[in-house]
Structures are given as C-alpha cells and as structure tokens.
Amino acid sequence: MATAAAAAAYPPPRTSATDGLPRLLNNKYRLERRVGEGTYGVVYRATELASGQTVAVKVRGGAGRGGAGTVGGEMRPDDSEEGVPSSALREIALLLELRHDNVVRLREVTRDLSRPDPAAAAAAAAGGRYSSGAGGGGGGGGDSAQLFLVFDFVDMDVHRLMQLYPALGANAALVKYLTYQLLCGLDYCHRRRVLHRDLKPQVEGGWGVRNLLVDVRGGGHSLKIADFGLSRAFGVPVRLLSPEVVTLWYRPPELLLGGRLYGSPVDVWSAACCVLELSNRWPLFPGATEIDTLLKIFEKLGSPDEATWPGLADLPHWRPQLPRYPGRSWEEIAPRLDPAGRDLMRRMLTYDPAQRITAAAALRHPYFADIGPLLERPPQL
C-alpha cells in the first residue's frame, strides 16, 4: 500500500529527457528519468539491463562545458578544470568503505565508456584548450570526465513520507524504529571515521538530493543514509575543518559559532533535529540566517554559558551580549515523545560537543529498551 502511494505521489520529472546524457550507459544501465538534483549532481532513475533491477545513477563532475557536460544547463560549483572534484573524490572513497543496512549502497563508479578515455581526450584536446587560457587550467579532459555513481534505488525518503502521512509523528513505534536505524547508520559511519556533515530530512524546493531514504518495499521502513557529498574522513584528535557545512536548520551551535575543531558530535545534533522534525512535523530550528538559527536554538533550549559549555567564550562568533533565554520545557519541545525519548533528545542536543551523547551511546539509551520486538516486526503506518 505504501509503495503504491509512493508511486502515485512521485512528482513528475521536470524534463523527460536525460539532458543529452546517453539513454543507455555502457550497454548496462538504461537511464529513465531525472529524480533529484543537488548541489553536486543530478540523480536519475535507471534500470540495470541484466538484472532488471532499478538503480539510481548520480552524475558527478565533468568538464561542464557544452554537450552532456552541462547537465541541466548549469555549472555545478566544483565542475571546474581541476579534474575529479574534491567532493566527488571523498563521496566515492568514503562510500566504497561503507557497507551497512542503514547506509545507501554504492554499487559501482563508472564513466561513459562510449566516450574517449580521459587520457585520450586529454591528448586530443592538448594545446588548443590549454592556450585558450580559461582560468589558467586548460580543458577538463572532455565530457568523459563525468563520473556515474550507481546506487541501489530507494523509492521513498523521510521528507516525502512526512508529506504523505501527516500523522507519522504520532506513530511512536515508527518514529522510534526510524530513529534507531538513523543512529545505527550514523554509529557505523563514525566508527569508520566518516562524518556525514549534511543529515537532513528536507530537500530544497522538494527537489533536492534526498539524504534520508526509506525503503518501503516488503512493507518495512528501512532507513538509509544517503548523499555523502559533504562527507569527509576525520581523525583523532580532531583538527581544523570547514565550518561551512550542514544545512542551516540542522547545523549545530559549535559550527554556527564559527568553530572549526569539530567531529562526530555535529552529526548527532543534526540527527536529533531530524528526529524531532519527524515527530513534530515541523522543523525544529528553521532559521533564515546563521544568527537567526542560533537564536531559535537559544530560545528553545536556553542560552548556553561557560558553565554548561566550557570553552564557549573561545568560539569566534560568540558574543556575551547575545540575548539570554531561559529555554522551554522538553514537554513543549518534544510533545509526542515519551520521557525516555525526550531525555535522549536532550542528550543529543547538548550544547557542549564533548558532553553530547555519541551515536554508539545513544543506541544503548533506555528509549530503545523495547527496540527488540520492533526490529523483529517492523511497525507499520
């Protein structure tokens, strides 16, 4: 039933064409329609001819200069002359190391083999393009520099599930089941030193690359973390990283305050925002700007101080004159969660990253004391 509803509710493709891409990729996949578009690439629904299985093909990188390179007619931010973009390189390298039920599976990375090899294309293009002096880089190795990432296709995502089933948040068992899977996937990533850095249920304008997929086949609700376009490996101890990650509403306070020494706690904060959005059916901190988001956090959770968050004063954007809020009660913040669920959210939304609960510890929280039966018989809508 859920599957039928999903098919019916799927938005029509913005264009039916495959934007100059081959309909048939390497005689192996048939590209069917565009199903999503993010900052770093366009996603197509496709069929693997040999098995008949539906897959998702994400197009990344490429010279972005005429022909199939300009996917959708727009230049992607990192489609420059620099070869394989940093974000694509990380996404592929990290996803290839991740094999887990709650992380989307990258099946294959390939190029369009009907086009010349980048080496051959580079040789053919040498000279002319280079001397054109565009940005001092030269040609991009031709359109064959495009990478095709082939994933298992998952037909549903958390955002669409919430749109289709407005009462989803009232289904305590399903919320718990999805939360548990999200934390399982996250714990797995963190154990392998991978930060996701962009967990969110939202898709901009309803047409983004979906980050929290839900496989509803077989009547289950199997959650898969997807879109590792902002992910990166992290070391111990943590070191300086870019603060410009994580979509605003899901960005933790240490990043909003300009912190650059961060680690896995950033994902835990985002995960809590996702869970409460699922439960409340409304984004938790829908700020318009960084400071607006920060003040929405302070208003709900109470303003932090040096006592609750040692080191706060050292963060670049912290100002003692920021408004002081007492915060609201957890019954108000998470009205549909039981006391154990509220306690887990309180721990996941702890200001001080060092005191914030880890994904591993969250899985052992009393909120999940009764998870066993749910795992055996996944809850239904």
Partner: protein, 166 residues
C-alpha cells in the same frame, strides 16, 4: 608504464620477473629514488602549509600505486606521479584546495616552462584513482601513529602541520 591491479598483478609480475628487470612483487621504488621523491613532496607540503596527514596520504598513494604496477614507472613520469599523488591527497584531506596551476608550476624545465599540462595531471590522477580503486580511506603511517599515540597515557598532541619542526 602499464598498470594492472588486483589478483592478476601478482601472477603477471611473477611471470615477468624471469625475463625483465622486475623484482619480486609488490614493486617498490628504488630507495634512493623514493627518498628523493618523498623529500621533494615534503618540501612542497611545507611550502604550501599542508597538513602532515596529507603528506602521508600522498606517500601512501605513491607506494601503493607503485606496488600495484606491473613495471616501475619510467623516470620521466616520477615527478608527475608525485604531483598527482599530492593533488589527490589534498583533495581528500585538506579544507583549502590547491589550484591545478600551482601544481603545474612545481615542475618546470631548465628555462622555467611547465613540463606538464593540466591534462597530464588530470590523466595521472585518474590513472591513480582507478589503480587504487578509489581506496583512499585507508590507514597510513601517520593516521595509525596518531591513533596509537592517543591511546598512550599522557600522550602529547601530535604536530599537526608539515611546517612544524619535526
């Protein structure tokens, strides 16, 4: 040089060992060459202010690439290989990126003209990534040792930039 990876590499190079100059697998750069290349990579890392993690990731790529190769890369390719390893490592590890032009200006002939073009660098990067099957998320000397030191009691924080005295 022709690059082969995976299981076929061992048997291929074993078969080749009898007839050509190839030593027992996996291949390694001659110590004197490796020392020069890695020393140069370290100077570059210092000049660009790169993180030690990046330098070691690049060194690991260099060694793993050579080990997966059928033949030692020709001398004329070694500098391009070193640059491409650095470039891939920077893309993987660093927050700030290094423009292709910066890499290309590191290799100049006696008249100061760049030896390689942007396409050469992209091609080499691609060959490395394919040969490594995109496996960049693997431990190296630096990442292992920093974890190990952290486990020791009273561990001092490791130096975090290549520019720091070592």
């Amino acid at each position: 040089g022709c690059i082969s990876v995976g299981c076929c590499c061992r048997s291929c190079s074993a078969a080749a060992a009898a007839s050509v100059h190839v030593a027992t697998p996996p291949l390694r750069l001659p110590p004197a060459h490796r020392s020069r290349i890695v020393g140069w990579m370290r100077q570059v890392a210092e000049a660009l202010g790169l993180h030690l993690a990046t330098l070691f990731a690049a060194g690991s790529l260099l060694d793993r690439f050579v080990a997966a190769s059928e033949d030692l890369p020709p001398d004329s390719m070694l500098q391009l290989l070193a640059i491409a390893c650095m470039s891939v490592a920077v893309k993987y590890e660093e927050v700030g990126q290094v423009a292709p032009g910066v890499w290309l200006r590191l290799a100049v002939d006696c008249e100061g003209r760049p030896i390689y073009q942007s396409q050469d660098l992209q091609r080499m990067e691609w060959v490395i990534l394919q040969a490594m099957q995109w496996r960049l998320h693997v431990p190296n000397t630096y990442s292992f040792l920093s974890q190990f030191l952290l486990c020791l009691p009273h561990a001092a924080p490791a130096n975090t930039t290549a520019a720091a005295p070592a």
